[in-house]
């Protein structure tokens, strides 16, 4: 995921370079490249960033969910153990 994010940063830098080139040298080729390739690279990079953030968010939620389940299971196990240890108290 880190690699993908770094690649996304590099793509953004390339896209920005094309856009800045078109603004500093406004001749047909730089302008066409900036408005096509430059913006495509920027869009792809942003899509990759969105993907990384989404996957990271899902993983975090999954981890929390698993931790919650594990905590509940541990609590239930602890309750069972205490019930077995003192049957009179439970009855």
């Amino acid at each position: 995921m880190t690699r993908l994010l770094q690649f996304s940063c590099v793509l953004t830098l390339v896209g920005l370079a094309l856009m800045v080139w078109s603004m500093l040298v406004p001749t047909p080729m730089p302008v066409i490249l900036a408005m096509s390739v430059g913006q495509l690279l920027g869009t792809v990079a942003f899509g990759m960033f969105g993907y990384v953030v989404l996957v990271d968010q899902l993983r975090t939620q999954l981890r929390k969910h698993r931790a919650k389940i594990a905590a509940r299971a541990a609590r239930e196990l602890a309750n069972d153990a205490s019930d077995k240890a003192s049957p009179k108290a439970s009855s």
Binding site: C9, T12, M19, M23, P26, G42, A45, D56
Partner: protein
């Protein structure tokens, strides 16, 4: 160009974005909420600001005479229309403040709701033609081959010269041709009227036609 606020904003956004991204690539921090926020600006919002404002700045740039004459075969057209000593129709309009540095676009733009889009698509055709057919030619070789795709519409002239004012109608030729001018069946830029906007190109066309006719005649007479 540097005073264009869109350009300044676009360059500012790009500079900030580059700073954030290079910082991230050097430091390589853990993907925390703060890092995500920084990257949202670095990869998303600031480049979006650059692209949006860059598009507007680019659109402004594509309307300028320097942009139009940046392809070498268009240089004589740009040079003539910016020449204060030239008496061509293009130069006389180029000296008008209302046309100024955007005189090519002002006259060659299409109108209507989708006029700008149609003009820009036409511009893409110019790029295609230049890349495939004109790029390798010298200016002298290219001039006889450069021609306007569709006849220049009188509606373009009539945006400013409405044909309604008494001063315009006082001229006999205008008065007698009024209906045909408005209908576009007689061009304002006809020979004998206001003439071609770029007369040197017309001269190059005539010379090329004469040369072709002479060589055809030579071939016919040779055994």
């Amino acid at each position: 160009m540097s005073s264009d606020p869109f350009l300044v904003f676009a360059l500012g956004c790009a500079a900030l974005s580059v700073g954030l991204l290079i910082g991230y690539l050097i430091v390589r921090p853990k993907l925390s909420r703060a890092t995500k926020l920084v990257l949202l600006f670095g990869i998303g919002l600031l480049p979006l600001g650059t692209a949006a404002n860059g598009n507007v700045a680019g659109y402004h740039a594509t309307k300028t005479r320097t942009f139009c004459s940046s392809c070498h075969v268009m240089t004589p057209f740009g040079d003539d229309s910016s020449n204060p000593g030239s008496t061509s129709l293009a130069a006389r309009h180029g000296r008008n403040e209302a046309f100024g540095d955007e005189n090519c676009y002002t006259c060659h733009a299409d109108y209507g709701m989708f006029g700008t889009i149609a003009t820009k698509l036409g511009g893409m055709r110019h790029v295609y033609e230049y890349a495939l057919h004109f790029h390798q030619l010298t200016v002298d070789e290219a001039l006889p081959r450069i021609h306007i795709r569709n006849p220049f519409p009188n509606a373009t002239c009539m945006r400013c010269h409405s044909t309604e004012v008494p001063g315009w109608q006082r001229i006999g030729d205008h008065r007698s041709l009024l209906d045909r001018l408005r209908a576009g069946t007689v061009s304002c830029a006809s020979e004998g009227c206001h003439g071609p906007a770029h007369p040197f190109a017309r001269v190059a066309h005539i010379r090329a036609e004469q040369a072709a006719a002479a060589s055809a005649a030579r071939e016919e007479t040779s055994p």
